[in-house]
Symmetry: C2
């Protein structure tokens, strides 16, 4: 599979919505309102405060991520990202490729570190992926996520310098 | 000193600005843009997604805080707050009274826990206050805050159940 990662265009919004809406509706991995409208979900994912990318193979968008500053002011040197992959494309390295791309892009933008604020512990695939990309667990939020089928589970804060 | 804590009204905005702007401009404790305009600072502090309170003694506003959900969706049962006290009123228990008020208010609103995402380690007074109010340090973000005079310092994630 030849994967190309490039900035998202307005013409990608339908493909982005097709990826992010099922994940948001499932409510198992992101602390976002499960009933977010398509317009609000796209406004969030492609907001003016972030850069949004898509990962494309053979003309099909298989994943998307955003990159932004995690905080303003004295915290603006730390980046933050969100990643979502088409459920039908999991296990093909899309998330890993986007993660590596995000680290490069964050460095190029002058960020000194990257932080994920809320990695749900039951999202084991994500935790392992970020650890393999050099992130450390720097915080654990007890019971901070209400999983729709598992109940209250912990969320992790993950961090790495760039 | 008889301190009353009550919801902020539009007529409190000038007093709130007088408290929050010097703290934002100093940039030593909050990861907010130091150049935030008064209008943007007030829009942030009194936004529709939060409840804003003032602490008042003898008709003077000495402190202010907001209470909101820290995350949406599966994270919405955890509250988040921001607190600022008039520099001229420090050491008089205003922040402690607001903290206790916030815990009660969060419980009354049905929150199950409270989280502070970014307590700058050099803000020793704040770290001690939150520990004395039952918060634990559950995360440490290495060098995540660029202090204007001390350089890169750590920030803490603090958490307590309600």
């Amino acid at each position: 599979m030849s994967l190309a990662i490039r900035p998202a265009r307005a013409s990608d919004h339908a493909a982005i919505a097709r990826i992010i809406l099922p994940t948001i509706r499932a409510g198992e991995t992101y602390a976002l309102d499960r009933d977010l409208s398509e317009a609000d979900a796209l406004a969030y994912w492609t907001g003016a405060d972030r850069e949004t990318f898509v990962a494309e193979a053979d003309g099909a968008v298989l994943g998307t991520y955003y990159l932004r500053a995690n905080q303003a002011g004295g915290g603006a040197h730390v980046a933050n990202c969100g990643f979502m992959t088409d459920a039908a494309a999991t296990g093909r390295g899309v998330a890993r490729a986007m993660g590596a791309h995000a680290l490069d892009r964050a460095r190029a933008q002058g960020f000194a570190a990257m932080q994920f604020n809320f990695v749900v512990t039951t999202n084991i695939r994500a935790v392992r992926l970020w650890e393999s990309l050099g992130f450390a667990i720097v915080g654990r939020l007890p019971g901070a996520f209400a999983h729709p089928s598992l109940g209250f589970v912990d969320a992790l804060v993950m961090f790495r310098t760039l």
